[in-house]
Point group: C2
Chain length 223, copies 2
DNA sequence: TCTTTCTTCAAACGATTGTTTAAATAGCCT
DNA sequence: AGGCTATTTAAACAATCGTTTGAAGAAAGA
């Protein structure tokens, strides 16, 4: 009643969004351990207890942030796969088209927010460099179904391949993708002079070729 | 002077070794964050301050443990590369031989201690799933020179290749290797029934083929 | 205006962390 | 035996963490 600040109280939803954005930045640069409720609250210009009020717990807050970043990408992955299936009519998809649908959407998301401080690429990478318990939750929550979809498509495209080979090499492909994303930051430091930060999409394109050919080399046609 | 326990005092070096082993186990299953000085000391049947006495700090302790695990592997990598060079006389090495020298020693180390609880594979994987600052130290301390050696060898074997292509695809190969090692645990859970724990060496062999072919596909012969 | 609901706040709680201190103990050399 | 050094120990320190509490503040419906 006394002074009444100009911007008195935020909407509540605005505060929540601000907290999520701050969580994103911190998580991208320092991982789950680097996201402390106090720092998040302070950077989001609100209170420690307010963060708990909106999310209930730290883990819930981080998971909600990750969901908001990954789900759009997963939707795009499915969409690209469907588009490719339409484009190739009833013919089986070339393997590289399947991997393009899996990998390319990540690159696009990077391009989209090239001005943004916290790259989506770091978010995804971090998601797979966290403690096992936390990671399993993400794996099952956001990637369980998706893997089934892509695995099925690979079977369709390689009907004569040994199923065990398919599984192994699919996992090699996914692991390569994740490993590459996770190592992205370090690649910047290492290959000095040979790297410019706008070349992320070039890396993605190379990754698709790399993974697709690695995959095909590993598939032994049965009998 | 009173009761004098049977095993009074350990050698000091024995205590240090016990601390390192405990650090290894904890780090393999929970990463740096899971290594707490108190737990390490207790599991190593010594005191909290004793751990500090021997290593000075937690980070120094973990780094010394990692050094003890990684250096033998790196030595073997160099040795394999030299052996391959002898075997192929003055002819340039096939790329797959180079990647075999890089990757296979890891698999051998896994086989060697197949009874051991804490797999070396988890150690290496964890080494690349830790906070960036910690990771950079490991990168520079244990992998800086090694990368130079292998990169040079790849240049020798692909003299006509675009140097930029070589760099990119070498990094893709290394990232794939690390990603695969890091994802190894999760692969066990995911591909239920299609995986048996003795098949690690099979995975390594597949990885070598995968990476080698991915690498070669990514190299465009300059003009 | 009064009540209700949503939101924010300062403060504290309880637990855990890496690190330090200072005293006690054991082995070894003279 | 006595002194020296290396090692181990219990206890405390200082910092940080996620979470909870209880009250204050603002908006909206009656």
């Amino acid at each position: 009643m006394v002074c009444s600040s100009i911007l008195t109280r935020a909407n509540g939803q605005e505060t929540k969004a601000r907290l999520l954005r701050t969580t994103e930045t911190l998580f991208a640069s320092k991982g789950v351990a680097g996201v402390t409720m106090r720092v998040v609250a302070k950077k989001a210009k609100t209170n420690l207890a307010s963060a708990h009020y909106h999310f209930g717990s730290k883990e819930a807050m981080v998971l909600e942030m990750i969901k908001s970043k990954i789900e759009p990408i997963n939707l795009k992955r499915r969409k690209r796969l469907d588009e490719a299936k339409v484009k190739f009519a009833d013919k089986p998809l070339p393997n590289i088209e399947i991997f393009r649908a899996l990998i390319h959407p990540v690159g696009e998301e990077v391009e989209k927010q090239i001005t943004n401080q916290n790259g989506i690429i770091e978010i995804i990478a971090r998601s797979f460099t966290e403690p096992a318990e936390f990671l399993d939750k993400i794996q099952k929550r956001f990637f369980g179904e998706l893997s089934q979809v892509f695995m099925t498509e690979l079977k369709n495209s390689n009907p004569d391949a040994n199923e065990e080979d398919l599984y192994w090499n699919y996992h090699l492909a996914v692991s390569s993708m994740l490993g590459t994303l996770a190592q992205h930051r370090r690649m910047i430091d290492f290959s000095v002079g040979k790297y410019n930060e706008n070349a992320v999409s070039a890396m993605i394109d190379r990754l698709i070729i790399f993974v697709s050919n690695g995959f095909e080399a590993g598939i032994q046609i049965k009998q």
